[in-house]
Subunit: 532 residues, 2 copies
């Protein structure tokens, strides 16, 4: 497929600006074709206006039709074949197998949302039957269900060019809800975005979705994103990226005359607690697993384990030594782009300068800066240093972690209490450890969105129970997740129907329950119909 | 019971400031005893610190214990007897029967949240079972459920001193979730707040809840509310009141270093559409019902019908004439306080000055300004005036409404499209009307949180399916409601447990399902246990 570099505004291609930019191949340090253009205010307005016009026809399609649209997207993505993987690899430095696994993941969550829509109970239909004889006032017939909010803006992540970008769960959950989507393509992988967007547009056409249900805009400047979030037609936005970028757009969204929710997932430090029983039983195996998790994706996961805590002991020393060896053996690899690479290098330089932090180990092979390669680093410090200098809690994006030696279980709890919100917190331990460290668990329940036992935070299962969220700064709103089927909650709101005629109700609220969904009827869950 | 005017900070009484204020009896224009004090920064900090310390012990209590706490609150409120009703009446001008119905409503929703907690399925427990043999990676055991977010700040409404204030669904849903509450008492009815707060504290003591689970702070200045919302220990806030006040505090909450959700319910214009079939069949009866709704609570409901639309016709003229007569017959009554009364009077004066708006009728009896009495007003205009001057859409708090004559069904749709977000939208019609005006319904589904057929928006049923919310400016976040059991959603977030040992999981996630809650197991709803 020939890439054009143009915005895809519904079925129209557009490139109205003279400002353009080239994506780069970070492994080679060379520019990639074609040029991509900055979206103009007019183009942003066109995309949002089309999305606004598409909202009513899109949400009124039967659930089955929306599910077919999602399945068609999955098929079109598979039909892109190696071209998608190769472009993603060229734009991000990810090896091809990684790109393939991202593609499979995107197909999986797209089909999962199709299934969710087909099954239908996600609308949380509730019915409270009337009682005309109630005193002092008759009780009305009250029913409610979730409906889509309207056109949403989506900003994909740099680190998952396929699975958390145009084809991410943000897009698919918005479509599942019935919301048109305007995507701001990530400037690090605009070609991957264009391929993915064309797949979505083909699926939309094949399943006869209204024009404007999807548009793709390009832009490297912050102005494009801010203008999109500011547009009065956009009613919600989702974002995956840095704390700086996410907070800036959150501020724009909150300051609008009509403020809108801005759901940002901004990464976190993802602490790992190594409890004594686990280290005693298998410190070497845990260290291997830890370094594998630390270096996965060149450390560019939002759930990268940035802080590891253990009690001073021989086993902790053994763990540290094995981790050091594994880090030394890890071959430097290309980061996503030169900007991320240079932020990583300066973060490492800053840590190396600190007297309070000791360099424990690093990749023994040299990293090639021309290829934006990162070496892995392991630092070591004590709990007191961490308590005195909270900046050590800050996430440094890349394959680096700090081991923190604690004097007592209480120290661990004290550090946990100081942590900011995190996407995940991990404990390695025996079941006895877990019972002994109940206080630590209690604190972590307040700090993190996901608690992992004897595993690693990277690799997020795509399922109904997954929660990829957490207290700020992990996200801007801890009630919501960006992965798993609960992600649909961001794009829906309840609408209540009082004394509404049965035939005019949304199907999920009609007496006969023609879609057979689970409902709450006078407080009881049931799939039964109601005798009208 | 002797009122003290002091803050109730956990079990301690405090009045550290020299600044004080007196509540007033709006019917008499006189001050009420005792003096109430402005909360100081230190007192705010004390209350939030206690709440923070109470969070873990409170949320770890068994669900049954939290339900008992809620039931005990309901009993203590009933035990306050007439004293609560008399104080509320003195502070707000509400007649005693109205105060009694508010009290009954507060008891009802408090017991409803107790029942919700006892039943337990609100935690939305989800389990996806593991598959160690899956390729290329084993599938972990992933489970999640809703947990409380932490200490919340609550701001009650002026217009419901019992049902939407200290004893409101905000407080009860936060307790149900497991969140400690710090309330900023409404300065219009601080004595009612003090009585209610003492009832809650007695219930907390009787059911051995941790100190700090509830505190009450007073203050008339905006600074107290802003300081409370700014406190780092507060993780969410709920508010019912004016657009100006709600937006100001929303801005504070959003600008914090760690932003928090600020759930404000700020009222709305609540349009009513009178369709031809209904007017033909029963225009007089609809007009009577409309004026009863318009003047209920002296028009001081957030769901007060501020705009009524009909097609120019003889029936619409009949409706208008009956409404005029009913408004003329309505006796002026005391508003909540002098400030609201004077805002109403100046809003009316502004409408009377406009050439584009015609005075159709008003209460024939004179209103006594010394008693803060409001007359009811009915204005009339055309759809073109409304389209040209959107300020007519603004809510004027009190017993006033504007009838808008439309030339065609398309005009009605055009006006609906111009509406801002609203808590409710009402249609009077036959079922044939509803089918004929499908486009109008489609627009209203985007604009309102609740759609009412052949009824009136005032009088909100307390039930599982109720939604009292809507797009901005009705609320700051359309996903959430402040009335009905869904209100608990504001104070909870998912927490996910990966490969966690069964015995250490929250009860609702354990294999055996000891609480017998509804769960989503591998995507299927069931109350069955899991074979571990």
């Amino acid at each position: 497929m020939t890439l054009t570099g143009k915005h895809l505004i519904g079925n129209r291609e557009s490139a109205g600006s003279a400002d353009s930019f080239s994506p780069a191949n970070p492994s080679l340090g060379t520019a990639l074709e074609p040029l991509y253009f900055e979206a103009t205010e007019a183009e942003i307005d066109d995309a949002v206006s089309l999305a606004t016009a598409a909202f009513d026809p899109f949400r009124r399609r039967l659930a089955e039709a929306r599910a077919d649209f999602l399945d068609a997207i999955a098929n079109e993505v598979l039909a892109l074949g190696d071209e998608l993987l190769e472009r993603a690899s060229a734009e991000t430095g990810h090896p091809l197998p990684r790109c393939a696994s991202e593609r499979d993941r995107a197909v999986l969550h797209t089909r999962q949302f199709a299934e969710l829509v087909r099954e239908g109970s996600w609308v949380d239909a509730r019915i409270d039957l009337p009682d005309p004889t109630r005193q002092p006032l008759p009780k009305p017939d009250v029913r409610s269900l979730m409906q889509p909010v309207g056109p949403v803006a989506i900003f994909g992540a740099s680190n998952f060019p396929i699975a958390i970008s145009v084809l991410g769960a943000d897009t698919m959950s918005a479509f599942a809800a019935g919301c048109p989507v305007v995507i701001k393509a990530h400037p690090g992988h605009p070609g991957t975005c264009e391929l993915a967007a064309r797949a979505i547009l083909r699926a939309a056409e094949a399943t006869r979705m209204p024009e404007g249900v999807f548009s793709l805009l390009h832009g490297k400047s912050n102005a494009v994103g801010a203008a999109l979030v500011s547009h009065p037609g956009i009613v919600a936005a989702a974002f995956t990226g840095s704390l700086g970028g996410g907070r800036a757009l959150f501020n724009v969204a909150s300051a609008r005359p009509v403020p809108i929710p801005f759901y940002a997932e901004m990464g976190s430090v993802n602490p790992v607690f190594m409890l004594p029983g686990a280290l005693k039983a298998r410190s070497a195996r845990i260290a291997e697993g830890f370094v594998a998790a630390l270096t996965a994706g060149v450390g560019q996961f939002c759930t990268n384990p940035g802080l590891v805590l253990g009690l001073e002991s021989d086993e902790w020393a053994d763990f540290s030594e094995t981790a050091r060896e594994k880090v030394a053996a890890w071959a430097p690899a290309t980061m996503l782009h030169a900007g991320i690479h240079s932020a990583y290098e300066s973060g490492i330089a800053d840590l190396l300068e600190r007297e309070s932090v000791e360099l424990l180990g690093r990749s023994s092979a040299a990293a090639d800066p021309a290829k934006s390669e990162a070496a892995a680093y392991l630092f070591r410090t004590t709990q007191q240093v961490l308590l005195d200098d909270p900046t050590l809690f800050n996430e440094l994006f890349g394959p680096v972690s700090t081991l923190v030696s604690c004097g007592s279980p209480e120290d661990m709890v004290a550090i946990a209490e100081k942590l900011e919100g995190s996407l995940s917190a991990t404990i390695h331990g025996t079941e006895t450890d877990l019972a002994d460290y109940r206080e630590l668990v209690t604190v972590l329940q307040r700090k993190a969105g996901r608690l992992i036992f004897n595993g690693y935070p990277v690799g997020i299962e795509v399922c109904h129970s997954m929660h990829h969220g957490g207290p700020y700064p992990a996200t801007t709103h801890s009630h919501f997740t960006s992965i798993g089927t609960r992600a649909i909650s961001r794009f829906i709101r309840p609408v209540c129907y009082q004394d509404w005629p049965d035939t005019m109700l949304p199907m999920e609220l009609q007496n006969a329950n023609p879609r057979g969904v689970w409902r709450m009827l006078n407080g009881q869950r049931t799939r039964d119909g109601v005798v009208g």
